[in-house]
């Protein structure tokens, strides 16, 4: 099958890493998977194509922005690809009612925005997938979409310069980090050396945040981070994520509240297990077990975060074993080869999308 993805290219965010993996895994099965557009040397692992005539399906990946498709491309994509051969991956849960989580995180700024998104999806395609095991809306098919690349696992023995790392942008994450993680870190600070947050906007919002009414999404407290001795490091390109995580003994993965509520999977769910690190995930136990297998429960940071961090510091070998068990589970159930099969099957209409094992 020839599949063309259409998505916003971002070197240090979004789904571009998954795309590179789809292209690689697809080749094994004789599928041609590429990103729509002219070749871009900034993404050497990603094949590009503009051959719509040769594409069986065009799959649009939408994250938090609707207007990333340039009008010229949109005109070409819409007129050269019949609707029956278009599909949407709704990565950020925009195909939902207006959801306001904890009076903080939200998928849309207003009901009007939400209607516009739904109209856009309705105009583009009949098939909508969400990277969730159980989408909440009728008409949305589950498609985990993001996956695990066992070949990309960094072997042990990488020198550790950092004790605890959080790699991800400050995008609707402050309430969880400021309200739950930082108080725990404050209690156990003496047990750990270097702690760093890698990503954008931990040291302040972008200039355009206020203009777009998104101050809350980028809220942070750099003074508090400094007082706690947390270093802020710049974002890294997708191809360096796993290697960067591997520089830390422990990596903590968090999700914005909305994603947790919708149980949306992301690249980070899997990248953190490809790294040579002890991954700790701020997810609900049931959800962690569902994705990662039974050992995933042991790696959850949920109730007593400070206690869990102390325990990891005391018994790192035990957590390395849990992580190893999760890696086996991920290799068996969440490889990109499996993801490609699921995608191809669901596009062809002969395979349920979610087979999580």
């Amino acid at each position: 099958m020839n599949i063309l993805f259409a998505m916003e290219r971002r070197l240090d965010a979004g789904s571009i890493h998954a795309l590179a993996n789809y292209a690689r895994a697809g080749r094994k099965f004789g599928h041609r998977i590429a990103l729509y557009g002219n070749p871009d040397p900034g993404y050497p692992e990603v094949p590009f194509s503009t051959d719509l005539a040769g594409a069986d399906f065009v799959v649009f990946i939408f994250e938090s922005r609707l207007d990333w498709v340039p009008g010229l491309h949109l005109a070409y994509l819409l007129t050269r690809t019949p609707r029956s051969r278009r599909a949407i991956v709704d990565a950020d849960g925009m195909y939902n009612p207006l959801l306001l989580d904890e009076d903080y995180d939200r998928n849309h700024g207003s009901e009007r925005d939400q209607r516009r998104w739904l109209a856009a999806y309705g105009a583009l395609a009949d098939r909508i997938f969400q990277p969730s095991l159980r989408p909440q809306q009728p008409g949305v098919s589950p498609l985990p979409f993001y996956g695990y690349d066992p070949r990309g696992v960094i072997a042990g023995g990488v020198g550790k310069r950092v004790d605890i790392m959080h790699l991800g942008h400050n995008w609707w994450r402050w309430r969880e980090l400021g309200g739950r993680l930082l108080p725990a870190l404050e209690r156990v600070r003496d047990r750990f050396g270097d702690i760093c947050f890698v990503g954008l906007w931990w040291d302040g919002p972008p200039a355009w945040a206020a203009q777009m009414g998104l101050e809350d999404a980028f809220r942070s407290d750099p003074d508090r981070l400094r007082a706690l001795g947390v270093r802020i490091l710049p974002a890294v390109p997708y191809r360096d994520v796993v290697a960067t995580m591997s520089a830390a003994h422990i990596n903590i993965m968090t999700q914005r509240p909305l994603f947790r509520r919708l149980r949306l999977l992301t690249s980070k769910y899997f990248e953190v297990f490809q790294a040579d690190t002890i991954p700790l995930v701020m997810l609900e136990h049931e959800h962690a077990a569902e994705v990662y297998g039974p050992a995933g429960r042991e790696l959850v940071l949920c109730d007593d975060i400070a206690g869990k961090l102390r325990d990891v510091a005391s018994r790192p070998w035990a957590y390395r074993e849990y992580a190893a068990a999760v890696r086996e589970h991920l290799a068996a159930h969440h490889s990109y080869e499996r993801r490609v099969e699921e995608l191809v099957g669901s596009l062809a209409g002969d395979l349920p999308a979610a087979r999580t094992g």
């Binding site: 005109a75 856009a120 105009a123």
Partner: protein
């Protein structure tokens, strides 16, 4: 005929004045023209519609990529209007192979990321008919349609004779000797020639004004991208006493130009090569100012008629300005003749009728 115009509107750029005039001309001729989109507070006098089924044709007025609507609107438009009832007016010659004239281009991949083939494929995907506002399109599959026009009712000062106009022009106090309203995009070479020449005229013309984006300095993004299309020399302009002002809304252009004795009519180098006309080609003749037509002579003659030639200075801009100041009447005679020519050959009623006829073919 009911026409739905599809374009990104801006109050001080691109086709807004022309579009507003089409709405007025449609009322006069019993047609209906609306702009595709939700009502915009900045354009209270324009009718908007999101329902393409109410219209006979969708007319895409394209200058730049953002003239194509965002989602979901473009998808709904393409679903709601068959290709045979869509037409594109390509205002900047995008639907050509890449053409470079000096440092002006019809495709600006560095700025918008789009290569030549993308424009061509997209246009061919959207519409069966593509029109360009030039008397002589280069491609065989493009029709000629000048699009922009002239509204004689909007002349700021409809003089009855050249002598009356010349007297009024010579005796009235004006804030500026010369003024140009337009953005600094691929115009510096010509504006520089004009202001340098104007500074040598004796007796002095007085201060000049440039109104629009990026006359203050070359913007940072242009420096970063290596784009020379908005070059400018602020020190030279300071030395010559040229004021630089922010853009003004389209409805204020004619009034503002009346503050100046002269106003140059210039086109981008690319437009001169392709013969493309703009709104300002016509609009400057509405103002109470003396237009100096800095266009290739052949083009000036084809648009304005043979009477425009006294207003075309050729290489000797200073000499022509001096001659006009000494004896303005023959030049005002030329202006009035050009106005009459534009009123009879290029009115918006005619333009709209031409478009309707083209679409009915």
């Amino acid at each position: 005929m009911n026409l739905l115009l599809v374009s990104k509107l801006a109050r001080s750029a691109r086709g807004i004045n022309t579009i507003a005039n089409y709405v007025g001309a449609a009322d006069a001729l019993g047609h209906r023209v609306a702009v595709f989109g939700e009502r915009e507070a900045g354009f209270p006098d324009l009718p908007f519609s999101l329902d393409p089924s109410d219209f006979d044709f969708a007319v895409f007025v394209v200058y730049m990529p953002s003239d194509f609507p965002d989602l979901p609107y473009l998808a709904e438009l393409l679903d709601g209007v068959p290709k045979s009832r869509r037409v594109i007016i390509d205002c900047t010659g995008r639907y050509n192979d890449t053409i470079r004239v000096e440092h002006d281009f019809n495709h600006l991949e560095k700025m918008d990321g789009h290569q030549s083939w993308e424009w061509i494929e997209a246009f061919q995907s959207i519409a069966d008919r593509i029109l360009q506002p030039t008397p002589s399109p280069r491609r065989e599959d493009v029709g000629s349609f000048l699009f922009h026009g002239y509204d004689p009712r909007a002349e700021m000062h409809p003089f009855r004779s050249a002598s009356e106009a010349a007297r009024h022009w010579s005796s009235s106090d004006r804030k500026y000797g010369a003024a140009y309203v337009g953005h600094n995009w691929q115009r510096w070479t010509q504006i520089r020639r004009f202001v340098e020449a104007a500074a040598t005229v004796s007796p002095p013309l007085g201060n000049s004004a440039l109104v629009g984006w990026d006359w203050q300095r070359r913007p940072d993004w242009a420096v970063q991208l290596g784009i020379k299309g908005c070059d400018v020399d602020p020190e030279l302009l300071d030395r010559l006493g040229v004021e630089r002002l922010e853009p003004i809304p389209y409805a204020e252009v004619r009034g503002f130009l009346g503050n100046a004795r002269f106003s140059p009519v210039v086109h981008r180098p690319l437009f001169n090569r392709l013969g493309l006309v703009t709104n300002r080609t016509f609009e400057t003749f509405l103002a109470d100012t003396l237009p100096l037509v800095m266009l290739p002579q052949e083009m000036a003659e084809s648009i304005y008629g043979p009477d425009a030639l006294p207003l075309v200075p050729g290489e000797d801009i200073a000499g022509r300005l001096t001659a006009i100041i000494r004896d303005p009447e023959p030049y005002w005679d030329a202006v009035l003749r050009v106005r009459a020519h534009l009123a009879s050959q290029h009115s918006y009623e005619q333009r709209l009728s031409e478009l309707v006829a083209l679409l009915q073919r």
